[in-house]
Symmetry: C2
Amino acid sequence: MKKKRPTLQDVADLVGVTKMTVSRFIRNPEQVSGALRDSIQAALDELGYIPNRAPDILSKSKSHAIGVLLPSLTNQVFAEVIRGIETVLEPEGYQTMLAHFGYSPELEEQRIATLLSYNVDALIISESQHTPKAQKMLENAGIPVIEIMDSTSSSPLHIIGIDNCSAAREMTQTMIDHGHRNIVYFAARMDQRTLQKIEGYKQAMQANNLHPIIKETHSASSFTLGAQFLDEVLTQHPDIDGIFCTNDDLAIGALYACQKKGLKVPEQIGIAGFHGHDIARAMVPLLATVITPREEMGRLAAEALLKGLQGAPFQKQVIELSYQIECGESIKAI
Amino acid sequence: MKKKRPTLQDVADLVGVTKMTVSRFIRNPEQVSGALRDSIQAALDELGYIPNRAPDILSKSKSHAIGVLLPSLTNQVFAEVIRGIETVLEPEGYQTMLAHFGYSPELEEQRIATLLSYNVDALIISESQHTPKAQKMLENAGIPVIEIMDSTSSSPLHIIGIDNCSAAREMTQTMIDHGHRNIVYFAARMDQRTLQKIEGYKQAMQANNLHPIIKETHSASSFTLGAQFLDEVLTQHPDIDGIFCTNDDLAIGALYACQKKGLKVPEQIGIAGFHGHDIARAMVPLLATVITPREEMGRLAAEALLKGLQGAPFQKQVIELSYQIECGESIKAI
DNA sequence: TTTTCTATTGTTAACGGTAACATTACCACA
DNA sequence: TGTGGTAATGTTACCGTTAACAATAGAAAA
């Protein structure tokens, strides 16, 4: 357990050459004479040599690792973003270093420092609100940084995202068009994106002379929370006929709670979610939702970074991706 | 963009001391005279100094990073395992390096090498089947390695998991006890854990003189797949009255498909899942499922590694966690 | 035979921190 | 006045790999 990994020197000693020759063999076998190749390979196998990246990271400040900083790892949305990122980075031989900061800017600052201290070659982040120190670190890092999720962010970084505000406005308007009037917004977490969505919801309600009502919490969303919100809102506002949720989890939880109570969806209450996860698109009734390009977002972000790493100029740019309103069966038919 | 990060030397030059003094100040300010402290701090702030871990990793082979190798990152099960792991590691200042191998042993071998090349201090892995080379790397790594998920694994490593076979046997027996007879097993991915579950299902069926039927695919499970399997199985075996799925996704997908077809659950068909995700415990009808301690598994694994890193002897040990049979409302009441 | 070239292998230094040891300066005390 | 002690700071070497340059030997060319 305590004997440490063999180094190039160990392999070289076994073969009777210098470590430089072994190093050459590993990176470019043709540079080494045919006579040596077999014995070097044999020595590598025998010792189970595994390269050590640390020296390279130290001397070239290139780790071949990309830092990914997300608010949460358990959120389905981010899981799919990660999949998109890895789809692109993995074949290129880049390792992803994931970190999450639980929606806290202070923790985000720490995490940025940690990732940079490992010399990540590039960084993907996902919030537009940073502490001043974090801001400075990002500017001085000297590596490509890209911000994802929210295209309306005012951050000075390269951005790939969607317009959450307009997406929420459209979905709300769709519910109104379909005959829902007293629509409540279910919010959780209260991060930037949720605030954007609330803004869009309010705009649509006010444009139709309807009164916005918001149920909110700072804690995480869940199916259970959706059910709990529904109970509460029915007591406080018995006349509601629509619920728009900040994500599918809340919506599905609320929908189940309606089924338990015998409330007919969408006849008595229309329900809409956000993101369009697999389950929302398989369930009965089909959930009305905003389908967002989560995986594509990760993919595009990774591709942009790769280009930057391959020497292309990496300047600020805002890429707005499109979303899709899915009416499903959980809001009234027109 | 191209100017590189300031080093200790840069800070030292600005203050007019050697980098050693700055290094001391960062790690232990009392070792530096009061007169210097303010100017060093000012220089650190001005340059935005961020420590570089590479030299330390190089000279001490300690990265303060833990490698976590999972088959998939998008699977809800593993997301919760990760949360458990991070709950423990993060407060201790350890960074997690996540990697996944898409259920391919060859890719797993590559990933192990990659994680080791970054000098991770310990490793959490999740399959018992490794290539010989992977096996050797794990043995020679000289770091604590722990295997999670399957307590019946024959691997020579430290193990924390559950007995998937006996869990599946119990759930199948429960369905039989509740009056279901022609129970089909829905399998996906066909990894070790699924094979274990199939074994348990078969044992229970045969013990009751019932004929096991297995629907299987090597592709990933999803809600959609559950629905598709249901359609197929109804054609092939119109007399089935029960479905036991290798995970909740398949089960919920099958359940929705039943609802669409107007098949009554559980009266006409009983359905059970595996894992007990939040949704399974919120939906209508409540899903029968095996509740597994996913987060606890991650937590315990991380704690065991930490102890090993803090010098405690790290010997092979098998920790079997308990699961819980939840009857829900999707199988008949007794 | 001698020179030149080339293929192969060797040598040195560097990356940025820190452990271990060395030095300096100042003070207290005999 | 000199000695010993101590607090503060400096110096050196090392971790493992590779870029850059150096050296060697053998073959081809003159």
